[in-house]
C-alpha cells in the first residue's frame, strides 16, 4: 500500500507528459482574429507610391490575401520569396506596410520583387490597431464580400499555404 502511493508522482507526470505532447501539435499563435467573418476594417490611407489617400473598397477587391510586412522585420525577408511565387501563380496579395518608412519600403520592393497588387502605407499603425495586428508578418484572408476569413500569425510558407490558406482560393486560381 505504502509502495503504491509512491507511484502517484510518476502517474501525475505521465499525464502531464501526454498533455505536453498534445501541446506540441497545437499552435498557440493561431489566435482566432476578433474580426473573423466580419468585414475588413474601413480605412483611408495612402498607398506606397501615391500620396492620395485611398479607401478600403478601392484597394482590397477580394478574394485576396492581406499581408502585413515591414522592412524592419527579419522574418518578412524570409517570407518574401514565397509571396512572389504566390503572386506569380495568380493569387492577389495586398500589402499592408506596417509602421515603416515608405522610401525604404519602395526600395525593398525594387530589390526583392513586388508581389503586391497594392500596398497600404500604414506608417502610424492605425489600421494595424483596428485589425489587431500582433506584429509582422501576419496574413489575412479576405473573401469576395470583403469579410476576414482567416488570420495567420508568422511566416507564410508553402506548408501553411497548403494546409490552411489555399482552400480559400481553390476555385479562383488553379496552381
Amino acid at each position: 500500500m505504502g509502495r503504491l502511493r509512491l507511484f502517484v508522482p510518476l502517474v501525475a507526470f505521465a499525464l502531464l507528459a501526454v498533455l505536453l505532447f498534445r501541446g506540441l501539435s497545437l499552435d498557440p499563435t493561431a489566435l482566432p482574429s476578433a474580426l473573423l467573418d466580419k468585414p475588413f476594417p474601413a480605412f483611408t490611407l495612402p498607398t506606397l507610391g501615391s500620396d492620395t489617400p485611398r479607401s478600403r473598397d478601392d484597394v482590397i477587391k477580394g478574394p485576396a490575401l492581406v499581408n502585413v510586412w515591414a522592412t524592419w522585420c527579419y522574418s518578412c525577408r524570409v517570407e518574401h520569396p514565397f509571396l512572389v511565387e504566390l503572386a506569380e501563380r495568380g493569387i492577389p496579395i495586398v500589402g499592408l506596410n506596417y509602421k515603416d518608412e515608405p522610401t525604404k519600403a519602395r526600395q525593398w520592393l525594387v530589390d526583392l520583387g513586388n508581389p503586391y497588387s497594392d500596398n497600404i502605407s500604414d506608417t502610424e499603425g492605425v489600421l494595424g490597431l483596428d485589425l489587431g495586428v500582433y506584429g509582422a508578418p501576419e496574413t489575412y484572408v479576405v473573401d469576395a464580400s470583403g469579410n476576414v476569413r482567416y488570420r495567420h500569425v508568422g511566416v507564410l510558407d508553402s506548408a501553411v499555404w497548403e494546409g490552411e490558406l489555399s482552400r480559400f482560393f481553390s476555385q479562383e486560381a488553379a496552381p
Partner: protein, 663 residues
C-alpha cells in the same frame, strides 16, 4: 575555420558526456574503483571542451563573423562590445550552450569540492549529471547548432540584438538564472545516487544541503534581476507579470524553497526522507519543464525564443526519460517505512512540514495556471488565459497563511514545543507590533487594511528573528564575540527570513499605494503626482551608438526644492527599426519616481507616464538578502569538516537517530 573549431569541441564534449554517463556507472555497479575514478577526469574534460566551444562563439560575436547564422541574426557591427558578448546568450542556440556550460561548471565544482565523498557516491552523482549533459549537448548539437554557417549568402551586416536585451541587467540575468536552474541538477543527482545506492540518510542530506542552498540562492538572484529588468526596461513600471516564462523559473524556486527546508529536517532529524528525495527530483524536473515550455513554443510569452515543434519534441522525449526514469526509480526504491523518530504537533518539524505544504501547493497552483491555456486548448475548449487575477487570488492568501507560522520557526524547538512557552517568549512584544501595525499605514496618509496586515506580518517575522538572535548571543560581550557565536548557516537563514519580510512589506505597499498617471504633456507643462511636481522642460533628439532617440527632460520638484532631473527616451534602433521605451527613474530607499515616454500626440506633445512607487526597492533588496543569505550558508564549516569523516558519521547519525527515538 574558427566556427568549425567550436563545432568540433562541442562534438568532443558530447562524446565525453556519453562516456561519463555510462562508463563510471558501470564501474560503480561492478565495484571497479579504477573505472569509477574516471568520472572526475571526464567531467573536467567535458567542461574544458564546452568552455572552448563557448569561448569560440564569443569570439565569433566579437569579430562580427556574419557568416555564422546566430551572429548574423543577433548582432551588428554598431553594437557595443559588451552587448556583442552578452548577445552570445541572447538567442536560443547560444543560451543553450550557456546552459550546458554551467552544467559542466557545476560538475567540475562537485568533482573538486567533494573529494571527501565516498568514491561510489561521487561517481554516481557525476554520472547522473553526465546523463543530463548528454541530453542537452545532443539537443544543442542536433537541433540548435550555434555554429551553423550562412554559406553562401553571408550578409554584410547583422540584424542586431533585440533592443530589449541591450541592457546591463540582461548581461547577468540569464547566467544567474541558469546557475540556479541547472544547479538543482546537483541535489537531483545526489538524490538519484542515494536511491541507486539505497542510502537515504543524514549524511546524504548533509552532502546535498550546501549545493541546494547555493543553487537556490542563485535562482533567487536571477529571478530578482529579471523582475528588476522588467520594471525599468519594459517601460510599464510593473515588477511581476505572471508571464509563463517567469512562472517557469518561479515554480522551481517554490519547490526549491520546500527542498531547502525539508533537507534541514532530514539532516538534523532523519525525518521526511522520501519526501525530501521527491522534492529534489521535483525541483530539477520543474527546471527542465521550464526549459521545455520556453524552448518549445507551446505557450506564448514575451520571452519568445524561436518556437520550433521539433526542438519541443526533442526536449519532451528527454524530459520523459529523465523525469519518468527518476520518478520510477523513486517509486521502486524510496523507503516506505515510517521513521521511528517522532515529533509533536507543535514542534519545529511540524512547522517545516507546514512550510513544505504551502510551498508545494503554491508551486502546483502556479503550474496549473501556467499550463491552463494548454490544458483548455488540448481539450478543445478554445483559447484561454487565466492571467494575473488568478495568480494573485491564489498566491497571496497562501503566502499570508505561511508567514504567521514562519515567524515562529526560528524560536521553535525540535521534537516538541509548547504554546505557553512560545507565548511567554513572543506574547508581549506581539501585542506591541499589533498596535504599531495599526498605526503604520497612517504615516502614508490614510488607513489601509492591507498595509496594516503586511506590516503586522513583516514585524512578526522580524520579532521572531530578533528574539532568537538575542537568545543566541546572550552572555557574549562585544560585537565580535556575539558574531562568533553565529554560524554561517544561521546568519544565512536570518538574512533570508529578514529579506522575505522586506519583500512582503515592499510588495504590499507598492501594490496598494503606487500612483500612476498617463497624461499628455508638452514642453512647459507641469504635473503633480503624489506630492511631486514633474515639469517637462524640453524634448530633443539625441543619438547613441546604434540608435536615435527622442529625449524628454523633466525637472522634478518637491515643494520648492528641486530633487532631480529625469531624461526618459524613446529610442529607434537603426538596424532593426525597433522602437524602445527607455524609462528614467529616480530610485530611493523609500520611493521611486518613474517617467516613461509613450507616443507623440501632436503639437510637440507626448503621452507621458508618471509613476510614484513607494518601497518598490524593498522587493529587490529583500530578494538580494534572501539570495546572499542562501549563498552564505554554504560557508558553514560543518559541510566541509565532516565530509572526510562521513563514512564514520553516517553510522553515528543512524545511532543518533535511533537514540533520539527512544529519548
Amino acid at each position: 575555420m574558427l566556427a568549425e573549431v567550436g563545432h568540433f569541441s562541442l562534438i568532443i564534449a558530447f562524446v565525453l558526456a556519453v562516456l561519463l554517463s555510462s562508463v563510471p556507472l558501470w564501474g560503480a555497479w561492478r565495484r571497479n574503483t579504477a573505472v569509477m575514478l574516471l568520472a572526475p577526469s571526464l567531467a573536467i574534460g567535458f567542461f574544458v571542451f564546452l568552455a572552448t566551444a563557448f569561448g569560440v562563439l564569443a569570439i565569433l560575436f566579437l569579430q562580427d563573423d556574419f557568416s555564422v547564422k546566430v551572429v548574423a541574426s543577433n548582432s551588428n557591427t554598431l553594437l557595443p562590445s559588451i552587448y556583442k558578448f552578452s548577445a552570445v546568450w541572447g538567442n536560443h542556440e547560444g543560451s543553450l550552450l550557456l546552459w550546458v556550460l554551467i552544467l559542466s561548471g557545476w560538475m567540475v565544482a562537485v568533482a573538486r569540492f567533494s573529494r571527501g565523498l565516498p568514491e561510489i557516491v561521487l561517481t554516481r552523482v557525476l554520472s547522473v549529471m553526465g546523463i543530463i549533459a548528454v541530453g542537452f549537448t545532443a539537443f544543442a548539437l542536433f537541433t540548435s547548432n550555434p555554429f551553423e554557417r550562412l554559406l553562401p549568402g553571408t550578409p554584410g551586416e547583422g540584424s542586431d540584438l533585440n533592443p530589449l536585451l541591450q541592457d546591463p541587467g540582461l548581461i547577468i540575468h540569464p547566467p544567474l538564472l541558469y546557475m540556479g536552474y541547472v544547479g538543482f541538477s546537483v541535489p537531483f543527482a545526489f538524490a538519484i545516487a542515494a536511491l541507486l545506492g539505497g542510502q537515504l540518510d543524514a549524511a546524504w542530506a548533509r552532502w546535498s544541503r550546501p549545493w541546494t542552498n547555493v543553487a537556490w540562492g542563485f535562482l533567487t538572484l536571477g529571478i530578482m534581476l529579471g523582475s528588476w529588468w522588467a520594471y525599468y526596461e519594459l517601460g510599464w513600471g510593473g515588477w511581476w507579470f505572471w508571464d509563463p516564462v517567469e512562472n517557469a523559473s518561479f515554480t522551481p524556486w517554490l519547490v526549491g524553497t520546500a527542498l531547502v527546508h525539508s533537507l534541514a529536517v532530514t539532516e538534523k532529524r532523519g525525518l521526511f526522507r522520501s519526501w525530501t528525495v521527491l522534492m529534489a527530483i521535483a525541483a530539477f524536473s520543474l527546471s527542465l519543464l521550464g526549459t521545455f515550455l520556453v524552448r518549445s513554443g507551446v505557450l506564448t510569452s514575451v520571452h519568445a525564443f524561436a518556437a520550433d515543434p521539433d526542438r519541443g519534441l526533442f526536449i519532451l522525449i528527454f524530459l520523459g526519460l529523465v523525469i519518468g526514469g527518476s520518478l520510477t526509480l523513486y517509486a521502486v526504491r524510496a523507503p516506505t517505512v515510517a521513521s521511528r523518530v517522532g515529533y509533536r504537533a507543535i514542534s519545529r518539524e511540524a512547522l517545516l512540514l507546514f512550510n513544505n505544504l504551502v510551498f508545494c501547493i503554491s508551486a502546483l497552483t502556479v503550474l496549473l495556471g501556467t499550463l491552463f491555456p494548454l490544458i483548455m486548448d488540448a481539450l478543445g475548449q478554445g483559447k484561454y488565459s487565466v492571467g494575473p487575477p488568478y495568480f494573485n487570488a491564489v498566491f497571496v492568501p497562501l503566502m499570508a497563511l505561511l508567514v504567521p507560522l514562519m515567524g515562529l520557526g526560528p524560536v521553535s524547538r525540535w521534537k516538541q514545543d509548547s504554546l505557553p512557552r512560545v507565548w511567554h517568549e513572543l506574547g508581549r512584544p506581539a501585542l506591541v507590533i499589533v498596535v504599531v501595525s495599526l498605526l503604520a499605514p497612517w504615516t502614508l496618509g490614510e488607513f489601509n487594511l492591507w498595509i496594516a496586515l503586511a506590516t503586522l506580518l513583516s514585524l512578526w517575522l522580524a520579532l521572531g528573528l530578533i528574539k532568537d538572535l538575542l537568545h543566541r548571543t546572550r552572555g557574549a560581550s562585544g560585537f565580535g564575540s556575539k558574531l562568533a557565536r553565529l554560524t554561517p548557516s544561521y546568519l544565512g537563514m536570518w538574512c533570508a527570513h529578514a529579506g522575505f519580510a522586506m519583500v512582503v512589506l515592499g510588495a504590499t505597499v507598492v501594490t496598494q499605494n503606487a500612483v500612476e498617471r498617463d497624461i499628455r504633456m508638452a514642453p512647459g507643462d507641469r504635473q503633480s503626482v503624489a506630492g511631486y511636481e514633474f515639469e517637462l522642460m524640453e524634448i530633443d533628439r539625441v543619438s547613441g551608438p546604434n540608435f536615435v532617440a527622442d529625449q524628454a527632460r523633466f525637472s522634478v520638484w518637491q515643494g520648492d526644492r528641486k530633487i532631480t532631473e529625469l531624461t526618459p527616451q524613446k529610442r529607434r534602433y537603426t538596424a532593426s527599426g525597433q522602437v524602445m521605451t527607455e524609462a528614467d527613474i529616480d530610485a530611493g530607499f523609500f520611493r521611486d519616481l518613474f517617467v516613461a515616454m509613450g507616443e507623440p500626440v501632436g503639437d510637440a506633445a507626448w503621452a507621458i507616464r508618471l509613476q510614484y512607487k513607494p518601497l518598490i526597492r524593498w522587493i529587490w533588496l529583500g530578494a538580494l538578502l534572501i539570495g546572499f543569505g542562501a549563498l552564505t550558508t554554504a560557508f558553514d564549516r560543518r559541510y566541509r569538516a565532516r565530509v572526510a569523516r562521513d563514512l564514520v558519521t553516517e553510522q553515528a547519525a543512524e545511532l543518533e537517530v535511533a537514540a533520539a527515538s527512544h529519548g
